[in-house]
């Protein structure tokens, strides 16, 4: 069609077959198509190479430990005995702490920005929050080491031990020695880092909720808060879940800030105040020191595990966000 439009009448270009292909080749369209296609395919190639390299280089570790790698609690480079359990535990705990703190804060802020604040104020605040998301993680780590850790050691930690630490059940999370570094500190820093993502995605999703939904609720006599909490938020809940998954994927893979404040100890402890390690922080700390082949291979297998977890979470998050933006998660 475009070929017909671009030639002058003396020669009617062939519509199909190898001659048509040659014709379009002369016009440059096929070449441009092929070149851009190559680069698009390069992305697929890179991603599959990434998976392949992780798989291939973790071969030694996979064949030495098998599935037991996931539940072995020992990480001992001296005796070439490696298990990922402490790091998987640390990754899950720090991310859970981060979400517990970040989801209410992020959702509340998103509600304020989409439902209450005038549009221009909301835009300015969203812009500032986007800037917050752009702050490099090593800077969060820097502030974590010199501000959050001392705060934890001198004020927040003792406070938690003396109050919540005495309660039954929950108390177990806040007992034992308090070093300032540990799961809780890492979780707090992570929470600050993922809040911007929850806010910006949730705000977008909340803004797509039709106006009529709010008006209908108000017309039935609901207060502003009731209309927001019982109508608007349930409508957008799938998308909000998506934003939480995105935040979770980021929290799981976050490296520098966590490495700097978690204390680096391959141990599973019930107390949130105890030092620990995450998958990412272990790789960051030990990769350049890994002397043996099996040691290095085990670290790469940790990378493979991390890749698979975030791969699945990101996929789920995309599906949820797209689902809400297309039709709205109608409350049952």
């Amino acid at each position: 069609m475009s070929a017909a439009a671009t030639t002058i009448a003396h020669e009617v270009p062939p519509q199909a077959g190898p001659r048509a292909f040659l014709h379009r080749l002369r016009q440059g369209d096929e070449i441009a198509h092929l070149i851009t296609l190559t680069f698009a395919a390069l992305i697929l190639l890179l991603t599959s190479m990434l998976v392949y390299e992780l798989w291939r280089n973790s071969h030694l570790s996979r064949s030495a430990f098998g599935w037991a790698f996931f539940w072995t609690k020992v990480w001992d480079p001296n005796f070439d005995n490696f298990g990922a359990a402490p790091f998987i535990y640390g990754t899950l705990v720090t991310s859970a702490v981060a979400l517990v703190l970040a989801v209410p804060l992020g959702l509340a802020s998103a509600i304020f920005l989409s439902e209450l604040a005038p549009r221009n104020i909301s835009d300015v605040i969203s812009f500032l929050i986007d800037l917050l998301a752009a702050v490099p993680s090593v800077i969060y780590g820097l502030l974590g080491i010199f501000i959050v850790v001392p705060l934890m050691r001198t004020t927040l930690g003792p406070l938690l031990i003396n109050t919540v630490g005495n309660l039954p059940y929950v108390g177990a999370l806040f007992r034992g020695p308090n070093y300032g570094v540990g799961f809780l500190t890492a979780g707090i820093v992570l929470a600050i880092m993922v809040v911007p993502f929850i806010i910006s995605v949730s705000r977008e999703v909340l803004l797509t909720v039709p106006r009529e939904q709010r008006e209908a609720a108000m017309a039935l006599g609901a207060t502003r808060w009731e209309s927001t909490w019982q109508v608007v938020v349930p409508w957008a809940r799938t998308g909000i879940m998506g934003s939480v998954f995105l935040a979770l994927a980021r929290a799981l893979g976050e490296t520098m800030a966590v490495t700097m404040v978690i204390g680096n100890a391959a141990a599973i402890k019930a107390s949130l105040l105890a030092p620990g390690d995450t998958i990412a922080s272990t790789i960051a700390n030990q990769f350049t020191e890994a002397t043996g082949d099996l040691y290095l291979s085990s670290l790469i297998e940790l990378g493979l595990v991390l890749f698979l977890i975030t791969f699945i979470l990101n996929g789920l998050a995309r599906i949820l966000i797209v689902a809400t933006e297309r039709g709205g998660g109608r409350p049952a």
């Binding site: 016009q27 680069f39 700097m260």
Partner: protein, 281 residues
Amino acid sequence: MSSPRIIWRKSLNFVMLTLTGVAAFAVVSVLFLILGYLIWNGGTSLSWNFFTQLPKPVGETGGGMANAIVGSLKLLFLAAVMGLPVGLLAGVYLAEFGGKTFSFIVRYTTDLLNGVPSIVIGIFAYSLVVLPVKHFSALAGGVALGIMVIPITVRSTEEFLRAVPGNMREAAMALGASKWKTIATVVLPAASGGILTGMLLALARVAGETAPLLFTAFGNRFWSQGWGQPIASLPVMIYTYAVAPYDDWHRQAWAAGLVLLALVLLSNLGARFILARSKAV
């Protein structure tokens, strides 16, 4: 009239709505706290020497991070040279040529690549570039950052190309331009402001990346001896100096943090400025 129920509902309304406002301002104030701390702690440690001198040996105070600043710029240059063209052309493919299924796969993979933790990208670059030659190099760091640049560039390029009105394409074709000529001379220039913004944001994001550089570019206390040798970078310097036990290093870590944050935030502001201007035209 004002039954207890109504009073309860109204006060709940007031309390919850106030709380959402408090939450939003708390989050925003974190940004100003970060800026304040860095300017306070970094500003007092920042001096001319920081920009012009090499790091002093352990134990001696003073010195600067000239090599890390240049190193970061070199790594960014490598990332830009390797990542931006791939991102741009793949973005053009998705917006202008792509079919249905293949484009969907490419888009999905791009999103997944964007979500891969940076430390895993580091392992990938390590196995691609460092393992075969058995030593750390600036090139490996550039590859790691370059890979991270790609997905961000692809998505922003595609988005801004799609925003170009269809009648501009039709007008160009009606004048006899072939498809690629239309793209190269009409569509791309029309979207250039947005595409440039996306590229700048992508570079700003990788400028602060530390994790993928730890075992690719590694670090260096001297001037780098070439692309095949380890090279210093600001983020890695901040990390090493912050976790070290010397007060003078902590001081310098704050200074480096301030420089890095200024670099990243200014390029973000610059990118938005370009976008606002290109939209106004």
